[in-house]
Symmetry: C2
Subunit: 335 residues, 2 copies
Amino acid sequence: MKRPVIAIVGATGAVGTELIGCLTRRNVPVASLKLLSSARSAGRTLSFRSQPIIVEELTEKSFSGVDIALFSAGASVSRKFAPHAVNAGAVVVDNSSAFRMDGDVPLVIPEINARRIKEHKGIIANPNCAAITAIVPLWPIHRSNRVKRLILSTYQAASGAGAAAMAELVESTRAHLSGQPFDPRVFPHPYAFNLFSHNTDIDPATGHNDEETKVMRETRKIFEDDALAVGVTCVRVPVLRAHCVSMTFECERPIGEEDVRTLLSDAPGVRLVDDRVRNCFPMPSDASGQDDVLVGRIRRDFSDSTGHSIAMFAATDQLLKGAALNAVQIAEHLL
Amino acid sequence: MKRPVIAIVGATGAVGTELIGCLTRRNVPVASLKLLSSARSAGRTLSFRSQPIIVEELTEKSFSGVDIALFSAGASVSRKFAPHAVNAGAVVVDNSSAFRMDGDVPLVIPEINARRIKEHKGIIANPNCAAITAIVPLWPIHRSNRVKRLILSTYQAASGAGAAAMAELVESTRAHLSGQPFDPRVFPHPYAFNLFSHNTDIDPATGHNDEETKVMRETRKIFEDDALAVGVTCVRVPVLRAHCVSMTFECERPIGEEDVRTLLSDAPGVRLVDDRVRNCFPMPSDASGQDDVLVGRIRRDFSDSTGHSIAMFAATDQLLKGAALNAVQIAEHLL
């Protein structure tokens, strides 16, 4: 495939904006770019490589002539329109959860399993953003010394819920600081200087929310290891656009913090930020706008005296590696 | 002891203010209240039960006639002045880390080990605020079915670093929202819409910061269980005054989420907030101003298939149960 026609579904959203930015910045060869959105946002003009492009309304007929369709408009839009894109001959890279666990849909982080891309039957799924934050730095370790148990607590930014959620964080904080009331619209709870359990639906039987279930299942699928035991707690914190994950993991064989540091020091997509003297570790403010997953606080897990467990902390730009960048990397592999 | 003379060291600080509030609200019988601070804050007038009290400068001679001295001005002030208070005949309830691990200093959460109060030799220590958040709801479980492994990730508020840190969160956020630069003074990192690893010193050998070491050691001391294995990651989040803790723990015998809910449903100092249908769980905004530790998200830890492990999430007002309230409860036991 050379110089493809690329479509972006959800072009006016937070991830859509970053998809345009990644295509530009990475000099992806594009014959033409089609920007698609709901009727509400259609008609707006966006810019790609200094050319104005008018956003068109997404319809079943939008994909004629499209080679690669980058979807980022939520699972229901993907479920409804991705089949039309595939029927029109496009390869779909889907950022939603709609198809991630389908047996014949590759779930891809290029640094880990790019080889699965060619097995696609029209759709390739982009993993959950919290999962990506944990999985990218865990993979080099897992490959060397199998991770058999993994416990995660997340610190997730507003951006994971889209541009409206980011605006709600800003506006509710502004209201709080000026003593004004604010009625949340996107989230069910106040967000200014507050945090809350992730706002996805909760399985009444297990008590796990959908975000947690995604992280557990997607980690196993990407690692191709059904026996990997994962426990996750997903929390929304008042941060704008970078997710963090606190992780404790147990390996099959003994492992030391120096082993982990060596494994991660030249791992693709990973940057070590692990300075004990200056107290510099991964932070959302440093991860924002960066391609790499930052990882640090690598140390022995003191809850396991057997020497099999390590604790560490990672941060990633949720809109870049957590979404748009990973999708564009997949598109690059398709070319 | 009846109608004691009480002194508050650090009276103008964030915890000092709450100490005055707790003494008032809980109708603690007080013959007179002495407010002490550094020279910088001395001379200010505060109000106690509608009476104005002039804050005096803390000196070695401040404790003459004082029965109970509530210290909350940092470890170095406690180390320097608590011995003078004890020599003058006062009982010190110290909110700092100065004496917590001393063998002859009881480390007390009244709901757990009030019986240790009478063993004091002049000083009783108030535990670390992140430790309190985890320990209060864990204790009823531990007592019933020993917790042998504990993994914590914290979400800690500005208030843990005092009133200046709370002001820095507000001011830096205000600056961020108006596009103005802001130079952090209290913390080493930007705080507006950001989070960072806890700002205490880091042991270069283990990579654990002092806050994490406190949580590990204090949990074992309060539970009187040196074999309890604890792993902790302490993180500062942009929240004003309530700490949260995500915990995963493994018990000696199998345990189900209903067992935990039953054990916690009438536990002192604990309030269950665990509504899966409405997605209502412990949040800083609900914990702020409340005496109880809120606990919820009680569910099986999916990283352990043996049925011995549970995950849950707690929130507590760092200034109340995390500091001032616990100290005043100890003072009440002394009376």
